[in-house]
Symmetry: C2
C-alpha cells in the first residue's frame, strides 16, 4: 500500500518504520533534514513537503503537533490532499480538540476522502515496535481502508464509533488524567521528601498500594534516578492540559484539577524546564520550598 | 499471645478475626454493641471500654478513626494503658498526622511501652483475609514484639525506620495520591460523559493505557454500575485530605492539587453525599452541569 507519514517525530518515526517493516511503500515527510535522513537510511522514501508525497497515496498518517499543523499539512497550500488517491484515508493522529477533529473530517468529506479521528498513545518505544494504541472514530469504510496501516503500527485499535470527534474526546480526557497524575505524583513525592520520608521507600510503598498510578510508577522512577532527559516533556502537558481546559470551557464544564495541574506545568515551563521530562514538574516545589531531589 | 484490638470497624474487625484465626487470645473492644456481638459470635472476647481489655495484654492494635480517639483509647480515662503488660507493644494504625504519632510514641515511652506508628491500607476485604498492608516505623524491639500480630493480620509490613512519624508520613502522602486520583477520576469521567463519550468505552480505554490509576480502575467501575454503597466513603477523604493539608501547612509546604481535591470532597459532603462511596464525588459535577450518570 502507498502510505505517507507526515511528521517524523518520536511517534511518527516509529509509525513510519513500522509501516516500512510491514512491506508498505512509505514516504516519510518532515521539514527537518535530520529526520528525513534517518528515515531514508532505513530504506524509506522522504519528502520535505506534504505535496511531495507519492502521487496516488492511499493512506496518510498525520503525526504532527496539533490541529493547526494537521490542517496545514493536509489542506493548506502545499498540503497532502492533492497527492491522495480517490477514496484514500486520512489517519489524523495529533492530539487536538474534538471540534478541530470534526472540522478536519468535514474538509475531508468535501474532497471525497475517508477520515479517521485517530489519536495515539504508548510512547516512542511502543511506536517503534509497531505497538501503539489508537483511539479512533470514523466510518466503517475508513476503518476498512486503514486496516493494513493499523495492522502495521498498532497493538490495539479502539473503534469508538462512527462520529469524528469521539477519538479526540477520549484522548483529551485521557490526557487530563495523565497530566494530573504526573503533577500529583510530583506533589506527593515532594511533600514526602520535605516531611522526611525516604523517597525510594515512599516509591516502593506507593507502587505496591492503592495510591499507585501508571504515571507515578513510570515518571517518579526517573525522578529517583535524577534522569530528566525528555521522553515526554513538560511542554507537552502545557499544551495537552490547554486542550483539556479549552474543550471544557467550550462545554461550560468545570475542570478544577486539570486547571490546577496546567498551572503547575506552566510554572515549570516558566522556570525554563519546558524541555525536561514531565515528571520534573517537581522542580516547581523544589523552587518554592528548597527540597533536595534524589541524586542532587 | 494476649492481644487487644480497639475499634471493630471494617479494618479493626478484619484484624481481630485474623488474629483469632491465628490462635491468639483476642479481646475486641468497641462501644457499639452490634460490633461486639459480631466478634463474640466468632469466638472472641469483647469489651465495651478499653480498660476492660484482659489484664496483662501483650499487644494492642488501635484501629479507631483518628489521633484523638487513639489518644483517648490508650491514655485517657478508662484507656487501655492500665491493662497492658510491662513491655507490651502498641500498634497505632489510625491515619493521623506525623506529629500526633510522635506525641503518642512519647507517651508510650514514658510508660515503658513499645510503640509502632503503623498505619494500614488494603480495605475491608483484605483485612478479613489477614492481608493488610502495614506502613510502620518504630524501634526494632517494637517490631520484634509485634511480629506475631503482623504475621496474623498483614500480607506486607513496610519497616520504614526507627522514628515514629515516618509511618504516618508515608500514609498521609499515600492518601494525598489516593484522594486526588479519585477526584480526578470523577472529573475525567464526568467530562467524558458531557463531551459525548461512552462511559464504558472511556473506562476500557483509560484502564488499558497510561492514564490509568488503581483508584480510577476500582472506583469508576462502581460509578459505571451505579453502586454507591460505601466501601470507603466521601467523608474519609474529607478527613484524610484534611490531614494532608494540615501536615503540609505545618511544614510550610504548598499542596495545590490535594487542596483542590479536598474542596471537591467537601462539596460532595455538603450535598449530603458524605456517606456514599468516594467515587461518587462525581455527583459534584453532576450537580453543576446536569450530566446523566450511568444507570440513572
Amino acid at each position: 500500500m502507498k502510505v505517507g507519514v507526515i511528521g517524523l517525530g518520536s511517534m511518527g518515526m516509529g509509525a513510519a518504520l513500522s509501516l516500512l517493516r510491514a512491506g508498505h511503500e512509505v514516504t516519510g515527510c518532515d521539514m527537518r533534514e535530520a529526520a528525513r535522513a534517518e528515515f531514508a537510511a532505513a530504506g524509506g522514501a522522504v519528502a520535505a513537503r506534504a505535496d511531495a508525497l507519492a502521487e496516488g497515496t492511499e493512506a496518510v498518517v498525520v503525526l504532527v503537533v496539533n490541529a493547526a499543523q494537521t490542517e496545514a499539512a493536509l489542506f493548506g497550500e502545499g498540503g497532502a490532499a492533492s497527492r491522495l488517491a480517490p477514496g484514500a484515508v486520512i489517519v489524523s493522529s495529533a492530539t487536538m480538540a474534538p471540534d478541530a477533529a470534526r472540522a478536519l473530517a468535514a474538509k475531508a468529506r468535501e474532497r471525497q476522502l475517508l477520515f479517521l479521528d485517530a489519536p495515539v498513545s504508548g510512547g516512542a518505544a511502543k511506536a517503534r515496535e509497531g505497538a501503539m494504541t489508537v483511539m479512533a472514530s470514523g466510518s466503517a469504510a475508513a476503518f476498512d481502508k486503514a486496516r493494513p496501516v493499523f495492522d502495521a503500527m498498532a497493538a490495539k485499535v479502539w473503534a469508538l464509533g462512527e462520529e469524528p470527534g469521539i477519538g479526540a474526546t477520549v484522548k483529551v480526557v485521557h490526557q487530563l488524567l495523565a497530566g494530573v497524575h504526573i503533577a500529583v505524583a510530583a506533589e506527593a513525592m515532594a511533600l514526602g521528601i520535605r516531611a522526611g520520608a525516604d523517597p525510594r521507600q515512599l516509591y516502593d510503598v506507593v507502587t505496591s498500594a492503592a495510591g499507585n498510578s501508571w504515571m507515578f510508577e513510570n515518571r517518579m522512577a526517573r525522578v529517583l534516578e535524577g534522569d530528566d532527559a525528555p521522553r515526554s516533556a513538560v511542554d507537552i502537558f502545557v499544551k495537552d492540559l490547554g486542550l483539556v481546559t479549552e474543550m471544557a470551557r467550550a462545554l461550560d464544564f468545570p475542570v478544577p484539577l486539570a486547571s490546577q495541574a496546567q498551572q503547575l506545568f506552566t510554572a515549570a515551563r516558566a522556570m525554563g524546564q519546558g524541555g525536561k521530562d514531565d515528571g520534573f514538574v517537581i522542580r516547581v516545589w523544589q523552587a518554592m520550598t528548597g527540597i533536595k531531589l534524589p541524586g542532587e
